[in-house]
């Protein structure tokens, strides 16, 4: 397992977050995990630090995103999780959810070739750190309206003003896609 034998934890405002699922392995040299924190231990409104920590030194690249919601069913706030890996310019993954859910997805790209990414299934991009920054990896996150089965699709490309050397890169695309669904609080 090497680097991916690490265990990971997350805190918000120094309060430990709960894991909703993870995966990791050597086949794609990727690891991923979803954490959440509920209202009961949430701090007052305002800016607070999120800290993600590996159990040991990690020589790879870490991409993280966060999204917060209100009006969430506190019993089962994150009701599903799924992931996939691929080596293509597109990625798609289904997750079982429900009408009224919001589905969160993230995609990261490990060859630093992606300079933009867009959802192909109507998602709203919530964070974007593309390959133009010189970062070794790139990552995006989105939310979209849930259905009985929600498909989250992504596609990446490169900006025209960039000139790439005439070498076809092995597309080390989409090491991971995480999806989590969340139930709404019933209307009173």
């Amino acid at each position: 397992m090497g680097e991916f034998a690490r265990t990971w934890s997350a805190t918000y405002n120094s309060v430990a977050m709960t894991s909703a699922g993870s995966f990791g392995g050597t086949s794609w040299n990727t690891f991923g995990q979803v954490f959440y924190l509920k209202e009961a231990t949430m701090p007052a409104a305002g800016a607070h630090d999120i800290v993600v920590t590996a159990s040991g030194a990690f020589a790879g690249d870490i991409d993280c995103g966060a999204v917060s919601f209100s009006g969430v069913d506190q019993t089962t706030p994150v009701s599903g999780y799924n992931h996939s890996t691929a080596t293509a310019v597109t990625a798609s993954l289904d997750i079982t959810s429900a009408t009224g859910n919001i589905v969160v997805s993230t995609v990261s790209e490990g060859s630093a070739t992606a300079t933009y990414m867009f959802t192909t299934t109507g998602g709203t991009v919530r964070w974007n750190r593309d390959g133009n920054t010189g970062a070794p990896t790139a990552t995006w996150g989105a939310t979209q309206t849930g259905a009985a089965t929600t498909t989250c699709g992504w596609e990446f490309g490169t900006m025209q003003r960039r000139i790439f050397l005439p070498v076809v890169r092995s597309a080390y695309m989409t090491p991971s896609v995480f999806l989590s669904t969340r139930k709404p609080v019933p209307e009173v």
Partner: protein, 56 residues
């Protein structure tokens, strides 16, 4: 109160070869909040990255 999106954030580059990643997220003051954090860790060797792009 209906389910609603409030805010998002992401860690900034560089976050390579670190065991700890820290960034700030602004939480709302609304009721029944939940924060979801999604972590991806990737290890890619130099040959797999291929040549770096030339910026015009």
């Amino acid at each position: 109160m209906a389910l609603a999106y409030d805010a998002s954030s992401a860690c900034t580059y560089p976050q390579s070869s670190q065991a700890t990643v820290t960034w700030s997220h602004t939480i709302s003051g609304d009721a029944n909040r939940v924060l979801v954090v999604l972590v991806t860790a990737i290890w890619v060797s130099s040959p797999e990255r291929g040549p770096q792009p030339i910026t015009a």
